[in-house]
């Protein structure tokens, strides 16, 4: 299950990059380095979750594969990615977690028109931060991600990080019927108003029940990305002690997670250092036990029989070099608050659902099940979304997010990384920056960022059903 990082179009991409550089140089003066050219075609296809001999499942793909090809880009090097839409419906690509110009953010209606069937859109940006990111559609997201559209996006450090191997596990959750097809019923009101469309098959790099071959003594950098629609995960590496190096692509102080458990909500990424201190030939399960009573084995670390790579364990892993994120000025920050409301057992606080203890099923008849500050923006993004608040460019914003619902919400902010200050009044350690912050029921999170990037930016829950049913807002940076 070793992920193949090679990008199949690299040779063609290289030639195009040379040509692109020549053209750009004649038109612009500021281009310092060659533009990296990539092509992505979105189209229906099929995949086999249980190896080459398993039954095929019809899916939607980037360049014919599930997950899509790993895009490995260089920090600070401009890239131009042409996305061609071979679906029968509009799509966009959101480069999740990348700080980029607003027009490249891939939100239909808000930052670009959807790419219509048969048409293409060229995304151009220069990734400022090294780390683990991912890409996915932001149009009809529930269906498009649920049918397989997701791919890893790795921004490489200028200087390689000292590990023996750099691995990636892109985790996807599928809701399949008994005969192995992707189940219909997208947008069910029960899913929308409870925990979202959690599935019944989890894959690692597109494969179910595979194993990760490892060698005794080696140090892995393992990049974990949860590309599920709704499934929260809490991973335990039996017999091993993962060290967290980065969250959502942004390096933090190297630390062991609480209880050795890596909580990874939809859209989150965690990079860990994993020292393989097991015996040659041994096997160790990786367990996801997020949901009570529903723990399962995600995969297995399978040691080959070779003797250990080194005689003595390595020293503790070093922190990764930090990206140059602007530091918020907390003393002079503008304070904003968003309150998450609604859902089942939500006390009926949602406007239009009634103020009683019980309620009809929120989200019934295609209505909103959730709201932010009393307002439900539903769907994937559309023109004319009025900003919840406006920030002057360059201002520091101290943002409080308050979850008044009975459900978990990974809140994703587009265009920025947030310095996470506190959770329920306790300081958050390890100097963490995140673009997707998980709020447990009733949690209050305080975070801060510098509004240095102009545009209308989305802030929404990344449980796709929750976003579609109203857990979404927009803010403006002038």
């Amino acid at each position: 299950m070793n992920y193949d990082f090679r990008y199949t179009a690299s040779r063609r991409g290289f030639l195009a990059a040379v040509a692109g550089a020549a053209i750009s140089a004649s038109m612009r003066t500021a281009v310092a380095s060659a533009i990296d050219e990539r092509q992505i075609k979105v189209a229906p296809g099929e995949t086999r979750f249980s190896g080459a001999d398993g039954p095929p499942t019809a899916v939607w793909t980037y360049n014919g594969t599930v997950p899509g090809p790993a895009l490995r880009l260089r920090q600070g090097q401009p890239v131009r990615i042409t996305v061609e839409n071979g679906l029968d419906e509009g799509t966009t690509v959101h480069w999740h977690g990348i700080r980029l110009p607003n027009a490249m953010d891939g939100v239909p209606g808000l930052t670009q028109p959807p790419i219509r069937p048969g048409e293409s859109f060229v995304y151009e940006f220069t990734p400022p931060d090294a780390g683990t990111f991912w890409y996915h559609p932001h149009a009809d997201s529930l269906v498009q991600i649920g049918r397989g559209l997701a791919g890893p996006l790795i921004i490489e450090e200028a200087e390689p990080v000292a590990v023996d191997r750099d691995l990636l596990w892109l985790l996807q959750d599928w809701r399949l019927t008994k005969d192995g097809r992707i189940a219909g019923g997208f947008g069910s009101m029960m899913d929308a108003s409870m925990s979202g469309r959690v599935g019944n098959l989890v894959t690692v790099n597109g494969q179910a029940q595979g194993g990760q071959t490892v060698r005794a003594g080696e140090r892995l950098r393992l990049r974990l990305a949860n590309a599920s629609l709704a499934r929260m995960m809490a991973l335990r590496f039996e017999g091993h002690r993962p060290i967290v190096l980065a969250i959502d692509g942004q390096p933090c102080d190297a630390h062991e997670p609480e209880d050795g458990r890596l909580v990874l909500a939809p859209a989150m990424r965690i990079d860990i250092a994993l020292d393989m201190q097991g015996d040659p030939g041994s096997r160790h399960d990786v367990i996801d036990d997020f949901y009570d009573g529903l723990a399962y084995r995600l995969t297995t670390l399978a040691y080959d029989k070779a003797p250990p790579l080194r005689a003595h364990p390595l020293d503790a892993p070093q922190a990764l070099p930090r990206n140059s994120l602007p530091e918020p000025d907390l003393a002079n920050a503008v304070r904003q608050e968003i309150v998450l409301q609604g859902g089942m057992m939500g006390g009926g606080k949602l406007a239009g659902v009634g103020g009683m203890t019980g309620m009809g099923m929120p989200g019934m008849n295609g209505g909103a099940a959730w709201a932010i500050n009393g307002m439900s923006m539903t769907g994937d993004g559309h023109a004319g979304m009025a900003p919840q608040f406006t920030l002057e460019r360059g201002a520091s914003c101290h943002l409080t997010m308050r979850n008044e619902t009975a459900w978990w919400h990974p809140m994703h902010v587009h265009g920025f990384s947030l310095s996470v200050l506190s959770r329920n009044g306790s300081p958050v350690p390890h100097r963490q920056w995140q673009d997707t912050v998980l709020l447990a029921p009733r949690d209050v999170i305080e975070c801060a960022f510098v509004a240095d990037n102009p545009g209308d930016w989305m802030l929404h829950c990344h449980v796709a059903d929750h976003q579609m049913a109203g857990l979404m807002t927009v803010f403006r940076v002038t």
């Binding site: 809701r175 019923g185 029960m190 925990s195 309620m359």
Partner: protein, 146 residues
């Protein structure tokens, strides 16, 4: 033979307020692992002569849909009991009526989470309509009102 006996016992249970006379009715509840109302409803059933095996599942809407519950009438959990589907917070006397009358339907459902329903807090503020559904594509019909 056994079935007839059980049904007679059930009939007695409905006729008298003493649930101890009824045989224990086995039920399996599929529920969202993070929803607490369903557990309160299961406890309510257990106080009324049922034995409820709670199974947390992440794909409840799929189970409910496979069980034939119409999408616009989903309750917050799905119970399989004695050959029937009981979806949502249906009052126990209506469940027992179903198991006694044994109509030719797939099951019954009380949509949503109405205030005052068993397992929910609050005061009952409206008439609840419990619908009967089948798997033959016919429109749901009213089974009971309370």
């Amino acid at each position: 033979m056994k079935l007839t006996y059980a049904l007679t016992a059930l009939g007695l249970a409905i006729a008298t307020p003493l649930p101890a006379l009824a045989a224990t009715i086995e039920a399996v509840m599929y529920k969202n692992p993070q929803c607490s109302c369903c557990e309160a409803y299961a406890a309510y059933l257990e106080q009324n002569g049922f034995k409820v095996d709670i199974k947390p599942v992440n794909n409840l809407s799929q189970i409910s849909s496979d069980a034939g519950v119409p999408a616009d009438l989903e309750g917050c959990h799905t119970i399989m009991v004695d050959g029937y589907v009981v979806d949502g917070l249906v009052p126990v006397d209506i469940v027992k009526k179903l198991l006694t009358e044994r109509p030719a339907i797939t099951g019954i459902t009380l949509a949503g989470m109405p205030a005052g329903a068993p397992g929910m807090g609050g005061e009952k503020t409206e008439t609840w309509t419990v619908y009967a559904f089948t798997k033959d594509g016919k429109a749901p019909t009213v089974y009971a009102k309370e």
